[in-house]
């Protein structure tokens, strides 16, 4: 089982990763966006870290919903409502739990993805974070179906997200700010897909090591 402490460690890892990659994400966003994705995510997860102590004793559903609301009210831009929705929906799937199985995690990731797609109306292939989140879920599901353990399944999710992230490079953006570029969006990696891949990489690194 993945415990609440594991989950908190995962979030801490992600906060750390974002802080370290703030400039990198902003550089990606400079090429096809408006040069703020790194600062936005960093600001959001700094706020999340401030908020976490007050809910750390609660169930994972409450924790995730608090994260989601914190992101919505501190990030702004496209990233805020989308990541906010991801955490809020994932939180609904984790309602009442304080420890979770890999199947619970997958269900939460899938709920998050569905929420993002509903809010942002993007499907795969549009050069957005969906292109990292969606293959992450698919790879994790395939791994669990094959009987993989939590570590294996999360590693598959992270690899899937990273592959999806790289596959955004040749894509023509049709959603978000990059879509204004038309053909000129081709050849650049999507910043949101990149920050999403980092979220799954932290999950694999931290939660995969957990048991």
């Amino acid at each position: 089982m993945v415990t609440r402490d594991d989950i908190l460690a995962w979030l801490k890892c992600y906060r750390q990763t974002l802080a370290e990659n703030k400039d990198y994400l902003t550089r990606l966003d400079s090429a096809i966006g408006d040069a703020d994705h790194g600062a936005n995510m960093d600001r959001g997860f700094a706020a999340v870290m401030d908020k976490l102590p007050s809910v750390a004793e609660k169930d994972l559903g409450s924790i995730f919903k608090t994260i989601g609301m914190t992101l919505v009210s501190t990030v702004g831009g496209a990233g805020g409502p989308l990541y906010g929705t991801w955490f809020m929906r994932a939180g609904m799937a984790l309602d009442g739990k304080t420890e979770v199985t890999s199947a619970d995690l997958l269900a939460a990731f899938q709920a998050g993805l569905a929420g993002v797609q509903q809010r942002g109306k993007a499907t795969t292939g549009e050069k957005t974070m969906v292109d990292a989140m969606s293959p992450a879920c698919a790879a994790m599901q395939a791994s669990l179906t094959e009987g993989g353990d939590t570590a294996t399944a999360l590693a598959a999710a992270a690899a899937g997200a990273e592959q999806g992230m790289r596959e955004t490079i040749p894509m023509l953006a049709t959603k978000g700010r990059a879509s204004y570029l038309g053909e000129r969006s081709i050849g650049h990696q999507d910043p949101g897909a990149t920050s999403s891949a980092m979220l799954f990489r932290c999950a694999a690194d931290v939660l995969g090591r957990a048991q």
Binding site: A39, G80, G182
Partner: protein, 333 residues
């Protein structure tokens, strides 16, 4: 990065403190969540108008709060859409019982955040209408993308809708008018230099000394095409013709014309652009009935300009001429 700032993280907060100190007679600034609101809000019985967006476009939107224009504006981080809680609080603060219009520029972030805010406000019993402005002809419109960006027509929409709200029009009517302005307005911009986002610390893009970017966005988003620097007259044509061609402006039409500076271009150059724009309009049989030349919707210290034409009938001109009293636009009072 050469800027008159302290810590990049404090830019928006300190700017808002400056606005509050400079314009305390006209607006109040609420912090946490941040919004700028008319001192006399809510105006009972009047439709409230709220806009907002990333900071870095001053005077838009905070500088357009006041009599005859916006009731409140929500400033986000630099170039980052504000958050739903700001918009919700602003909406509540300006609701005088006649409902609230959200004027939203067409960017995914602005759309999503305003959407959430409108849901929350309606859940609290406030009638909300949202109108999306998407006037930038630089972006080739398509059913399959996020569509066109919202730029210069936003300023004109805020002025005109503000006057209509002041005149006692209903929420439905003001929203309809806003859609009419959006339907009749078109813009296009260009950059001579990049802007630098404070927390990014370096220019968003590199533009060689002999090149310019045509069709630039107000967040330094790359435009239609990069090309060799040209004369002001040629540049004005490159901007004005797509604007004129996109809308069925017809011989005899009147327009409100705006030549807007991006923040780093001096007024002397904007008048040179205006001169050519007037010549082009005349050649197309379009009469400039009203004009605005200056910095209204900027992109930090970017050098460059944008052109907006809004086809205008007696209704729009009447609202345009109505008194307005904001830090950024003022006449008639």
């Amino acid at each position: 990065m050469k800027k008159l700032i302290n810590n990049p993280a404090d830019v928006v907060k300190e700017e808002l403190q400056g606005v509050a100190l400079a314009h305390g007679d006209q607006v109040r600034v609420h912090f946490d969540p941040a919004y700028v609101v008319r001192v006399d809000a809510p105006v009972v019985g009047k439709v409230g108008i709220v806009s907002g967006g990333g900071s870095g476009h001053e005077p838009m939107h905070g500088g357009f709060v006041g009599y005859g224009m916006l009731d409140a504006a929500c400033p986000g981080a630099v170039f980052t859409s504000p958050t739903p809680d700001q918009m919700l609080e602003a909406t509540k603060a300006v609701d005088g019982g006649a409902g609230v219009l959200h004027i939203v520029k067409n960017y995914t972030g602005d759309i999503l955040n305003f959407e959430m805010a409108a849901e929350l406000a309606m859940a609290e019993g406030i009638e909300v209408e949202s109108v999306v402005i998407d006037d930038d002809v630089a972006v080739q419109n398509s059913l399959w993308t996020a569509g066109r960006r919202g730029v210069g027509a936003t300023v004109l929409a805020e002025k005109i809708c503000g006057a209509a709200a002041e005149a006692g029009k209903s929420l439905k009517e003001v929203a309809e008018l806003c859609r009419k302005v959006n339907g009749w307005g078109r813009s296009m911009g260009m950059a001579l230099t990049s802007c630098t986002v404070p927390h990014a610390g370096q220019p968003t893009f590199e533009l060689p000394e002999d090149e310019m970017e045509i069709g630039i966005g107000i967040h330094g988003e790359p435009g239609r095409t990069r090309m060799a620097l040209k004369s002001a007259d040629e540049i004005t044509e490159l901007l004005a013709l797509p604007v004129i061609q996109d809308l069925p402006f017809e011989k005899g039409d009147r327009v409100i014309a705006m030549v807007n500076g991006m923040g780093g271009t001096p007024l002397i150059e904007l008048y040179i652009v205006y001169r050519k724009l007037a010549e082009i309009c005349e050649a197309h049989g379009i009469t400039i009935a009203r004009s605005l030349v200056g910095n209204y919707i900027t992109s930090l210290e970017m050098a460059g300009c944008s052109i907006t034409l809004l086809k205008a009938d007696d209704e729009l001109l009447g609202y345009w001429d109505a008194p307005v009293k904001t830090p950024g636009l003022r006449w008639g009072m």
